[in-house]
């Protein structure tokens, strides 16, 4: 019998794949890894990562974690760079719409599972929500020590001196720590963990978060987790305490302060504006009547048109 016969259906649908793509045995294997990861916060659990129909480095770890925990009544939100409609977020959302037929949303508050790349939503997450991070390099010590055999030993012995030396050298050279994203954290006072390449602006949100945080690295075959209400401290020194980025201006569309902003280049004469990286947060604020200094201009309408929004805001 030809393999071609039982794969493609006449209507071209992917009907023969299991719910959320992965077979149940594989999901069980991933769930076991997740449970272990939750039991040992910040510890990288090796798992038998599968090939997925999207490339390694494009979120296969996050997709496998989401596929393993997704139920038919879940509501899924997918963001990349804080936005629901960057191309890769659209692609992953469409993947789960197709293979699991689950409800999706762009609203942070409505989602039960949020898969993310590079950001944590601005809105405070709640109990019962799960944040799934896509992780490219799970090992926080990797760029200090390329060998897995060594870094696993270092974690086992809680030998993190090398990391502190690196941060110290930054201070000695630049006067401050020159790591702006993927800024290492210590979880529950034990494991040093890579928060994935989120800007360090988001690090404080990980601390004591009500939601469960799961991290999936597909190519590197690792899963790790931060259970709800867990201590997450960014590494620093007493005389050089951890600091997040600050922006000079509020969001040009919704006037939000204390949020992470994207820089949008408007022309080739140095014109630029700063807008919320979290597009859902920005839209909600504008719906609630907040107006930034450029909210009335044409660019605002164009940016909003790009969003998968049903709101009439930004006019």
């Amino acid at each position: 019998m030809s393999a071609l016969d039982n794969t493609a259906r006449a209507d071209g649908s992917e009907g023969s794949y299991n719910f959320a793509y992965l077979d149940e045995q594989t999901k069980r294997m991933i769930r076991r890894a997740i449970l272990k990861a939750i039991a040992v916060p910040g510890y990288q659990v090796p798992f038998a990562s599968r090939e997925m129909p999207m490339p390694y480095g494009w979120g296969t770890g996050g997709v496998q974690v989401t596929a393993a925990i997704l139920g038919s009544d879940d509501v899924l939100k997918v963001i990349d760079q804080g936005s629901d409609d960057t191309t890769n977020a659209v692609s992953i959302r469409a993947f789960f719409e197709k293979t699991a037929n689950v409800a999706t949303t762009t609203h942070t508050a409505e989602a039960t599972i949020i898969q993310t790349r590079h950001r944590i939503p601005e809105r405070q997450l709640e109990e019962g929500q799960i944040l799934v991070y896509q992780v490219p390099i799970p090992e926080p010590l990797r760029f200090l020590e390329p060998r897995e055999t060594e870094t696993r030993k270092m974690h086992a012995l809680e030998e993190y001196g090398l990391m502190h030396v690196k941060l110290y050298e930054d201070i000695a050279r630049h006067g401050h720590i020159a790591t702006t994203y993927a800024y290492p954290v210590k979880v529950d006072g034990r494991y040093v963990m890579d928060p994935s390449p989120t800007p360090k602006f988001d690090n404080p949100k990980m601390h004591d978060m009500a939601a469960l945080q799961l991290f999936g690295a597909g190519r590197e075959k690792r899963i790790y987790a931060v259970p709800p209400y867990t201590r997450v401290e960014s590494l620093d020194f007493e005389d050089h305490p951890f600091q997040v980025q600050r922006f000079d201006k509020p969001c040009a569309l919704c006037a939000a302060e204390d949020v992470y902003l994207d820089e949008v280049i408007l022309d080739d004469r140095g014109g630029r504006m700063f807008v919320c990286s979290d597009t859902d947060h920005c839209e909600e604020r504008r719906t609630a009547g907040h107006r930034g200094e450029m909210a009335g201009e044409e660019i605002a309408a164009r940016l909003s048109a790009g969003h998968a929004s049903d709101g009439e805001d930004g006019q």
């Binding site: 760079q81 804080g82 409609d85 191309t87 890769n88 490219p136 390449p197 190519r219 048109a305 790009g306």
Partner: protein
């Protein structure tokens, strides 16, 4: 341009429609059939099956068609399909000694039992473009007469087995035996280091041909020399058998074409072992001697620790080799740099601006100090 990045859904749909259109190319040129690909581009099909770790000519041909001939993309398609297939169990170890041999050569003996069988090979062809192939609908080449192999001659012993009779080469382990008892499966368990030879060979078997070629080549140029001889290269069909618990005996599932390479390498001996030849092993789906030979060279290089040799070269470093051999992983991660990174880039912009400002301030301050000193 900003909206183009953010305006996802429709743009993706249109891009994929354009891709489908481009894949088909000029509509006046006939569409490729899978049979044409499988029959006439069979070495591409073999590579896709080998590195895709799935033996199915038709699916590999489909993957090549769909990927517009981009073989790594085709390998990726096959792997992504393979991962959804249920696992019934493991076949019995292949017996390559029982191969229906299409080609078999040894570089270590002029003549040997079973003889040298050249078979279909590019070796000794002159690499001159054959313009007669450019003419469409040309007369197909004459079908060569195949020698009849009678049953007595059919058994072609492996060169390493011949060497083994004299004890000149390290013994092969019994099939299925490893240091830790079980044969591992790197598609079911994550690879951890140090990895035993069973897992290393699995990794190399699906590893990128170009990567292994370069590493194998590097050992020949002094980066971890292994003094290899091509003891034997054989290509042909072997039967795949599956032990069915319910029946209590093995049933044949079918035949696969494989290329096997046994490298014979010098070994000076050590306190524990007498001087004898050692092995490097390569086994690949389809006819791919380049890959099988490269794999054998790298396998032998990776045995440095086991044989008490100094580990100094990239090809001997198993973390380096095994972590970077998979082209599906490699291409994904390299190409993921195409994804938006503007959140992190924003953080870096901010840092660079700040550091430039601080640098300027320092320069100005130093210039001020210098002026003051000069004035004093």
């Amino acid at each position: 341009m900003y909206v183009a990045v953010k305006g996802g859904e429709k743009a993706i749909r249109n891009a994929h429609r354009l891709l489908a259109h481009k894949r088909r190319g000029d509509r006046t040129v006939p569409d490729l059939t899978l049979a044409q690909i499988a029959e006439q581009l069979s070495l591409s099909v073999a590579r896709v099956m080998a590195e895709g770790s799935l033996y199915d000519l038709e699916l590999a041909a489909l993957a090549i068609k769909q990927s517009r001939g981009d073989l790594i993309e085709a390998i990726f398609l096959l792997r992504a399909y393979r991962t959804t297939l249920p696992r019934f169990g493991y076949s019995l170890p292949l017996d390559t000694g029982d191969m229906l041999v299409r080609r078999r050569i040894s570089a270590t003996y002029k003549d040997l039992p079973g003889g040298q069988l050249l078979g279909p090979t590019f070796d000794y062809t002159h690499r001159l473009l054959d313009f007669s192939l450019a003419a469409e609908g040309g007369v197909p080449p004459e079908r060569p007469e195949l020698a009849k192999i009678d049953d007595d001659d059919a058994k072609i012993p492996r060169v390493t087995d011949l060497l083994g009779q004299e004890g000149l080469i390290e013994a092969d382990r019994p099939a299925g035996e490893t240091d830790d008892g079980d044969v591992g499966d790197l598609t079911r368990e994550p690879l951890s280091f140090p990895a035993d030879r069973d897992l290393r060979l699995q990794n190399l078997a699906r590893g990128d041909e170009g990567f292994l070629l370069a590493l194998g080549y590097s050992t020949q140029r002094g980066y971890g020399r292994t003094h290899p001889f091509a003891g034997e290269i054989r290509f042909g069909e072997v039967e795949v058998e599956f032990f069915a618990e319910e029946l209590g005996f093995a049933v044949p599932l079918g035949r696969v074409q494989v290329t096997e390479c046994q490298m014979v390498n010098q070994f000076q001996g050590s306190a524990k072992a007498p001087p004898q030849f050692t092995r490097g092993y390569g086994l690949v789906f389809g006819q791919s001697e380049r890959k099988a030979m490269s794999m054998a060279l790298v396998d032998r290089a990776l045995r440095a620790a086991e044989l008490g040799e100094e580990e100094i070269a990239p090809a001997q470093d198993q973390e380096f080799v095994l972590s970077h051999s998979d082209n599906v992983q490699a291409t994904g991660f390299v190409e993921h740099l195409k994804l938006p990174h503007y959140v992190d880039f924003q953080a870096e912009l901010d840092l660079v601006r700040r550091m430039r400002r601080e640098w300027q301030e320092r320069q100005t301050a130093e210039a001020g100090d210098a002026r003051q000193e000069a004035a004093e």
